[in-house]
């Protein structure tokens, strides 16, 4: 064990009492604030329900007796070849080929959630690493990486997405690759900005003087301090990825039928919206409810983690008081002013 590691341990032991309380209370406070946010709790419940739908899709399929790709040419389509409306046999109606729409929507949840979560994990890992490297090393490394980030952000993403899908053939893998490729840059930009300001802090200088190498400083000393914005960005990335995936499917460049996805159901539905409203409305509802829930949760996490939102509301209340000739600060002292950090991009 090297001296620096010993000293590192000694330092952390010395500060343990303070650190433990501080550290736990920050996450605990966040959780407490999140729990008090009724909308965020409702969103969490909805997300759990949607996840259950995705996991239990085969159960629903056996319950109705209709497979996700099973076609019912006799009872699933009217004599004119049109979809059948919602009823006892087909709970949410059928599509133009005579699939059970309910079962397909349940299976569609699998695709959406899978893509949303997997691409967010990939994008977050890549974005955080590249942002840290760019911000910490600075100089020409930063110059090149920043150019790359700018190019990715400025590139008309849908065109590259469409082209890749055509060059390599549409598939789930391509969808995941495309969405991840376009999601990391935003995260990298925010992480870079935060790293730029954090690396000037005294404790980083202390770590360096103890002999910590750049990688250790980046991932052990700086990264934990970035967790709050990264978590918020990641949560808000999930609905964006779900929308992106559905859009690719809609344009016929993502998941292909007979595999059910909300996007490809909606693509087929567009030709039948005049005759079969359910064909369009139910998958659209599933998609919108899912993205609303994730957006609400992301907002909730952001509000719970960022004491500044508290301050903003407190300032708002304070202003009203002032109008009533009652000067003085609002109840903002409950949360100390956070260190002012530059917030590049719209978090």
């Amino acid at each position: 064990m090297s001296i620096s590691e010993l000293e590192f341990q000694a330092k952390s032991v010395e500060e343990t009492p303070g650190l433990a309380i501080e550290g736990r209370s920050q996450w605990w406070l966040t959780w407490r604030r999140l729990r008090r946010d009724k909308l965020a709790v409702a969103a969490m419940i909805v997300i759990v329900l949607i996840a259950l739908c995705a996991i239990l899709a085969p159960v629903f399929a056996s319950l109705t007796g209709h497979g996700p790709a099973q076609v019912f040419p006799n009872i699933g389509v009217t004599a004119d070849g049109l979809p059948v409306g919602p009823g006892a046999t087909f709970w949410l109606g059928t599509d133009n080929l005579g699939h059970d729409l309910f079962v397909r929507i349940m299976y569609g949840a699998q695709v959406s959630l899978f893509v949303g979560v997997v691409t967010t994990l990939i994008a977050t890992a890549a974005g955080v690493s590249i942002g840290l490297i760019s911000g910490y090393f600075g100089g020409w490394v930063d110059g090149i990486l920043a150019r790359v980030v700018d190019s990715v952000l400025a590139f008309p993403y849908i065109i590259l997405a469409l082209s890749l899908a055509v060059v390599f053939g549409p598939s789930l893998t391509i969808v995941i690759a495309v969405i991840s490729f376009f999601s990391w840059a935003g995260i990298a930009r925010v992480v870079r900005g935060q790293t730029l300001s954090l690396k000037e802090k005294e404790y980083i200088e202390a770590a360096r003087s103890l002999g910590s190498g750049p990688w250790r400083i980046m991932f052990i000393d700086i990264l934990p301090n970035l967790m709050a914005p990264v978590l918020v960005l990641a949560t808000l990335n999930i609905p964006a990825a779900i929308v992106f995936e559905a859009t690719l499917d809609y344009l016929g460049l993502g998941v292909q039928p007979p595999t059910a996805s909300w996007g490809n159901i909606l693509a087929d539905a567009q030709s039948f919206y005049q005759e079969a409203w359910w064909f369009l409305v139910f998958p659209a509802l599933a998609l919108v409810i899912t993205t609303v829930a994730f957006n609400l949760l992301g907002d909730g996490v952001r509000d719970a983690m960022d004491p500044r939102t508290e301050r903003v509301f407190a300032a708002g209340r304070g202003r009203k008081r002032r109008k009533l000739a009652k000067p003085g600060g609002g109840p903002s002292s409950q949360y100390p002013d956070p260190p002012r950090q530059p917030s590049p991009g719209g978090v």
Binding site: S163, L280, A284, G346
Partner: protein, 322 residues
């Protein structure tokens, strides 16, 4: 002087970006199988001699790097090549037919997006926690969560369909050029505009609300209030200017997103502009047309970004153009 230097620098770096994009697009889309291209152009009856002649004339038999060099050379001279698909028509002809359609969608969409987004955001911030603010926040969330194509389809279902069934045909899908009258043109464009604007307006409502609330907490705003200025003057003259800076910088990032929206909207409402053309070109494997679309889109992004940076400097005197 500094403005000129800034412009020169930005234009030079814009050219570098365009070159990178063109290179990327070229190597992604170069004709891997010249025979298919030649067959497309020559028709079914073409003999192998004719096919070889077509391949030779297009330069597809040359080494890749030579092809790349020719591609750069003719692109710089404004020649976008010929389409591999629609009977060898020059790409510039195809593109120039599509541009007014896409421009129509973009202009109206962007105006509605910014006007609605900013005004709702400002009203929400100045009436923080009021009923208006709360309903706006809910509206923003719903707007944010609607994928563009879903919103478009829903608008077709709840607006276009009932109106048409009851004999109102002003609102339509497709495209009518401005020469048929502004009203007819707007009737075709209104649904694409609303669809394109809604999602983005939601983003900007949220952004401008948050930013203005932050700015209203700044010291200089307190100073302005302390001077006894009216609330209206404090908000619109002092705070708003500072609050718009992050909004404008987001504008630069969102231009690429906007183009994605245009592609989707054109497909939903059958506008048949650049976006729909790009999707068609990609499904047809029409490589020169694809590259042209990519270059046009990127040029648009680069130019728009320079405009945004200029706006940025105008709004915030602290930002030095450099």
């Amino acid at each position: 002087m500094s403005l000129v230097r800034f412009l020169i620098r930005r234009i030079l770096s814009g050219i570098v970006v365009l070159w990178l994009v063109a290179t990327l697009a070229f190597f992604l889309f170069f004709a891997r199988n010249p025979e298919i291209v030649a067959r497309n152009l020559g028709g079914r009856a073409a003999t192998s001699a004719i096919l070889a002649e077509i391949t030779r004339r297009l330069g597809l038999d040359q080494p890749l790097l030579t092809q790349y060099w020719h591609f750069l050379d003719r692109t710089i001279h404004g020649n976008l090549g010929i389409s591999y698909y629609s009977g060898g028509e020059p790409v510039s002809t195809i593109v120039s037919q599509d541009i007014p359609r896409t421009a129509s969608v973009l202009v109206g969409g962007v105006v509605i997006w910014l006007v609605v987004g900013l005004s709702v955001g400002i009203l929400s911030a100045t009436r923080a926690r009021s009923l208006f603010d709360r309903s706006a926040t809910v509206g923003v969330l719903i707007g944010l969560s609607f994928p563009t194509f879903v919103l478009g389809e829903v608008l077709l279902l709840i607006i276009y369909l009932p109106l048409n069934e009851h004999g109102y045909h002003w609102i339509n899908t497709g495209y009518a050029p401005l020469s048929q009258g502004v009203i007819t043109w707007a009737g075709y464009m209104i649904l694409p505009w609303v669809t394109l604007a809604t999602v983005q307006a939601a983003v900007y409502t949220r952004l401008s609300r948050g930013s203005l609330l932050d700015t209203l907490g700044e010291d200089y705003v307190r100073t302005a209030r302390a001077k006894g200025l009216t609330e209206r003057r404090v908000v619109y003259r002092h705070a708003l200017r500072g609050a718009l800076t992050p909004v404008v910088s987001q504008l630069g990032i969102d231009i690429g997103v906007l183009l994605g929206g245009v592609v989707v909207v054109e497909n939903v409402f059958a506008v048949n502009g650049l976006g729909q053309g790009a999707v068609a070109a990609i499904s047809n494997g029409d490589l020169p047309t694809i590259i042209a679309f990519v270059l046009i889109a990127s040029t648009f992004v680069v130019v728009a970004n320079i405009v945004v940076d200029l706006l940025y400097a105008v709004l915030d005197p602290r930002v030095r153009i450099s």
